[in-house]
């Protein structure tokens, strides 16, 4: 299985046109696949079966802490957080630090807590589309999916979001593996840390009835998190707000446009989204094609392959979620599908903290589009809708439609 020659270029342009054919091949022929990451020739592993993916995500010996990465990983400059506060964000922490920090934030993001966001979400969606009329041409990514989630999160954090486009550009830079962009990454990192520190300072001076103030109290009065963890918490909320939910709303709407029968189901009964539809859309085209690299803390055998400590492992959610051993007819979109849980929001200790918020925002956003614009259709040929070519993401840069 190691060093298997594959009949396609993994993460090349053709791959992004149709990742599923390549992932299907790997899942059958090389489920724990040796891969050399082109930037810096870093030896890595690509895992594509559901059971292996779930087992790795459930095993805390597979760490997300980048400092545990191999020498080649660091020499290639692939660390997103580097030595900055970004390395202290929840997704990159190991227990027991992870448990302590997550415990501090979780109660704000449970389904029960997020239910109270409904009015804010409604207001943000309505404001976003207040001038929209049937027949207009709009880009559902830049004019709908991108602005809505960050505005909702900013409201909860207690500030108005300024410079969203600049932020989004910096998020892109952080995860960029384009050698030409690499010199720009430290700058993006520093701008994020600066913004996080500024917001904390501002809220510390003028606390309010909001999440940032609650996190500050948890740090200052209760001593539950450190100053660095506090700033990192605010930063990761902003990054998450700008990124994944945006991608999911775009992916989900495209999936509905590609499947008129499934869209008709939502038109007839918008409640199907909340019951099973959102889960199926998360399975079908999760914004996270691969969760962040896992780094074994010791030599660990996966199937018949031994993975050395520090060698980055790509756990391909996009493949696990289409594993025919777990999901019948996995490439079919079926909004009423039940059965096994998809891994679109992760699994194990790093499962998505903001899952309930992402579900509610995207459910309300999609239901609104389907309901208000029954004739909504693509404004360009389908083949012109292209994925952004980043190995870890399922991300479309534009989705032009006629309302």
């Amino acid at each position: 299985m190691a060093d298997t020659v594959v009949p396609f270029e993994l993460f090349g342009s053709d791959y992004f046109r149709d990742p599923y054919t390549a992932l299907d091949w790997l899942r059958v022929n090389s489920p724990v696949h040796r891969y050399v990451f082109p930037l810096g020739d870093v030896p890595m592993w690509v895992v594509t079966r559901y059971d292996d993916a779930q087992a790795i995500l459930a095993d805390t010996r597979f760490s997300t802490a980048e400092w545990r990465g191999s020498a080649e990983f660091h020499a290639a400059g692939l660390s997103i957080g580097g030595e900055s506060i970004l390395a202290q964000t929840i997704p990159g922490l190991d227990p027991p630090q992870h448990t302590r920090v997550r415990r501090c934030a979780m109660s704000a993001f449970t389904p029960r807590a997020v239910e109270k966001w409904r009015e804010d979400i409604r207001r943000v969606i309505d404001l976003t589309i207040k001038d929209w009329e049937p027949g207009q041409e709009r880009d559902l990514v830049s004019e709908f999916a991108a602005p809505i989630p960050p505005s909702v999160i900013a409201t909860r954090l207690g500030f108005t979001l300024e410079g969203r486009e600049d932020l989004a550009r910096d998020v892109d830079l952080l995860i960029s593996t384009d050698p030409a962009e690499h010199p720009l990454i430290p700058g993006a990192r520093e701008r994020f840390c600066e913004r996080g520190r500024e917001l904390v300072a501002r809220k510390r001076a003028e606390p309010g009835d909001d999440l940032t103030s609650a996190f500050i109290r948890a740090a200052d009065e209760e001593g539950r998190i450190t100053e660095e963890e506090l700033v990192a918490m605010v930063i990761i909320m902003i990054i998450a707000g700008v990124g994944t939910t945006k991608m999911f709303i775009g992916n989900a709407m495209l999936a509905l446009l590609d499947h008129p029968d499934q869209r008709a189901l939502v038109t007839g009964d918008p409640g199907v989204l909340g019951r099973s539809g959102i889960e199926e859309l998360l399975r079908y085209e999760s914004p996270v094609a691969s969760v962040p690299w896992r780094f074994p803390t010791e030599a660990i055998k996966v199937r018949d392959v031994e993975i050395a400590p520090g060698e980055p492992v790509m756990v391909m959610i996009a493949s696990a979620n289409r594993d025919p051993e777990v999901f019948d007819d996995p490439h079919r979109l079926d909004l009423t599908r039940g059965g096994a849980r998809h891994l679109g929001l992760g699994h194990g200790i790093h499962n998505c903290l903001g899952a309930a918020a992402a579900r509610l925002i995207s459910e309300m956003a999609l239901a609104t589009l389907v309901e208000r614009f029954p004739d909504l259709r693509l404004a360009c040929p389908r083949e012109e809708i292209r994925r952004h070519e980043v190995w870890a993401l399922n991300d479309y840069r534009a989705l032009p439609v006629v309302l």
Binding site: R102, R103, S107, F215, H347
Partner: protein
């Protein structure tokens, strides 16, 4: 600290695997991929404090720690 009763509300649990990954000694995922508590009764103070931490991290608020005498303690301090 007196003993506590540890339960998972299996109607709320989604099987995210957070509890079983954080505290494999206290929780496991059943064949249906939904979490179960390994031991119903906790007496070791370290186990109890770990169970409290994990209960606060559960995204579904599905972990219940019950004192024998007092009522249900589902969560720690709430930030909302």
């Amino acid at each position: 600290m007196t003993g506590r009763r540890l339960e998972v509300d299996r109607t709320l649990c989604f099987g995210t695997g957070l509890c079983s990954a954080t505290a494999p000694g206290l929780f496991t995922l059943g064949a249906d991929r939904i979490a179960v508590a390994r031991e119903g009764e906790l007496t070791d103070p370290d186990d109890i404090s770990l169970a409290e931490e994990v209960a606060d991290c559960c995204p579904r608020e599905a972990i219940i720690l019950r004192s024998r005498d007092a009522g249900v303690s589902r969560r720690g301090p709430v930030i909302s």
